[in-house]
Every structure is written in C-alpha cells, then in structure tokens.
C-alpha cells in the first residue's frame, strides 16, 4: 500500500469567497500581514501497489476535482 495525497485548489482566476472570508477574519483576530488566503481540499488515499500514476490522475480529474474551476496535484508520500 502507498499513501497518495491529492491537493485540490480553486484556480487562481476563480473567485474564492471562502478564502476571502478567512482572510477578512484574520485582522479582526489580531493577525496582521496576511495578504491573501485561498481555500482548497486535501484528499489522502491509501492505494494498492498496482494502482499506477495515470489511474491516480484520472481519479483526480473525474471525481476529486472539477477541472472547470479547480487545479489538482497528485503526489505519493512516504507512509
């Protein structure tokens, strides 16, 4: 088994109102100097050794991310 992490983020040109709301809350809590926040999702998959990288890409683009508005990055990590 291997651990795979898929990060899904709104594309840079897409408005991210959730990230903006977080960014706007930070100064109210006394945290200054944060110019921008963007909010995304992280998926952790435990995958069998016979699952290849091409399959992982297809999983990410057909289900985990909507490529119309989101970018994704797939990486294998050490368990």
């Amino acid at each position: 088994m291997a651990r795979v992490v898929v990060d899904v983020m709104p594309k840079q040109e897409i408005l991210d109102p959730q990230g903006q709301a977080v960014a706007n809350a930070l100064p109210r809590l006394g945290f200054d100097g944060i110019a921008e926040v963007r909010q995304g999702k992280r998926f952790e998959l435990e995958v069998g050794d016979d699952v290849d990288d091409a399959t992982l890409e297809r999983i990410a683009e057909t289900l985990l991310a909507n490529p119309v508005i989101e970018d994704f990055a797939v990486r294998r990590v050490d368990a």
């Binding site: 897409i14 408005l15 109102p17 959730q18 709301a21 289900l63 985990l64 909507n66 119309v68 508005i69």
Partner: protein, 225 residues
C-alpha cells in the same frame, strides 16, 4: 394520452414533490424515478429537482452524476429527450457534462432565499416557448451555491448561440457571471436553472404561476414531436 415527465429522487432531494405537483397542473403525467433505477420507465422528459443530493458531499452534484439513473438520463439526453435541472439539478447537469460550466459558492457566502425577478432571454428552447422574449418572471430562489462560472470562451459561446435562458433582473443574488440564471444545451433540449419554477405554479403556494410555463412548454414540445 398525456406525456410522461419523470421526476428523479436522489437521497437528499427536496423538491421532487413540488415538481410532481407541477407536472399534472400543466397537463402531463408525473412519473417517480429513483436514483438507483436503471431505466426511465418510458418517460418522455425528465426533471432533475433541487435539494442536496447525497448531502452535497465533495461538490454539489459530484456524486449524483454517477447514479445509475443519471447514466440513463445522459444517454436519453443525447438522443434529444428534454431534461430540466433545477437548482441542485442544474448543478448535477453541469457536473454530468450535459451543460457547460459549474455552480460555485455564492459570492456573498450567504444562502439566499427570496422571490427573484428573471428576464427571459431565450424563448425557443424546449422549456421556454410559452414565454415572451424579454418578459420578466417572478420565481423563488433558494441556494447557497448558485454562482454560475465558466471561462470567457464558454460564456461567449453561450451568448453567441442564444443559450442563456434567463438572467437575473435587478440585483444579482449570487455573483453569477453575466447575471446568468439559466442556460440550455446546443439543441435547446437540456435546460438548467437555479430558480425554482416548480415553486411558482399557483398564487396559493408561490409568488406567481410564472413557473408553470416551463412545464407547459415542455409538454408542447412533446406533443409536437
């Protein structure tokens, strides 16, 4: 014999009952379809109603697009069957690839629930022939993720081909690009919209009966076919 319009229920669907009430009001027969069905029970058109299919897990509509019944709907839509997606149904049709673009979180982050004026842009699709182009309709909206987004090329194509069905009149409630409230596919058979025509079919239970025109239009299209 009246035309049959299927109403899909997913786990988490809310508006199937109102949709099933609207169809006979327009003169059609409503047929209940379940998400796990592998056939469409001989219906002539399909409504994908609003709600929170599969809890809106992952993204709105992202799980519903893999439901067995949606495989049948995608196949039938390819052959020209009229399909209407309302609210979560619109989100499902976008995730399924039957319509372009995607519905994202409202720009103001708030869930909006109010009666909304819409302007009719296209009155030639299977679902909008009963309206006059330029007419204004008052139909309820209730959603947290109705901000329509697509890239500029897709938006230009929609506009150029007259595929914007409705635009929000007055204030844009959700930040939707170009004030888009509803669109149709290239053939004018598959329609998606955030406002709820099934909630506006009589003055007793809705602000107007403006929504009934969607169902009457589809039944016209089916009779003519």
């Amino acid at each position: 014999m009246s035309a049959k319009i299927g109403i899909i229920t997913f786990p988490g669907t809310l508006d199937d009952v109102d949709a099933a009430r609207a169809v006979p009001r327009a003169g059609g027969e409503a047929v209940a379809l379940w998400h796990a069905d592998h056939d469409l029970k001989g219906v002539d058109a399909v409504v994908v109603p609003g709600g929170f299919s599969y809890g809106d897990y992952l993204r709105c509509g992202a799980i519903a697009k893999f439901a067995p019944v949606m495989t049948e709907v995608i196949d039938a839509a390819g052959k020209g069957m009229p399909v209407l997606g309302v609210c979560n149904g619109f989100q499902i049709l976008c995730e399924s690839g039957l319509l372009p673009g995607v519905l994202t979180r409202n720009a103001g982050l708030h869930y909006v629930c109010r009666d909304q004026w819409l302007k009719v842009e296209n009155n030639s699709s299977a679902w909008t022939t009963r309206f006059d182009a330029g007419a204004e309709l008052l139909i309820p909206i209730k959603h947290g993720e109705g901000n329509y987004m697509a890239d500029a090329a897709v938006l230009d194509e929609l506009e150029g081909e007259g595929r914007v069905l409705f635009r929000y009149a007055g204030d844009n409630p959700n930040g939707s690009q170009r004030d888009i409230a509803g669109i149709t596919d290239a053939r004018g058979r598959v329609a998606g919209m955030m406002p709820h025509p099934e909630h506006a079919i009589d003055p007793l239970t809705g602000p107007t009966d403006d929504g009934l025109g969607m169902f009457l239009s589809a039944l016209d299209a089916l009779v003519a076919a």
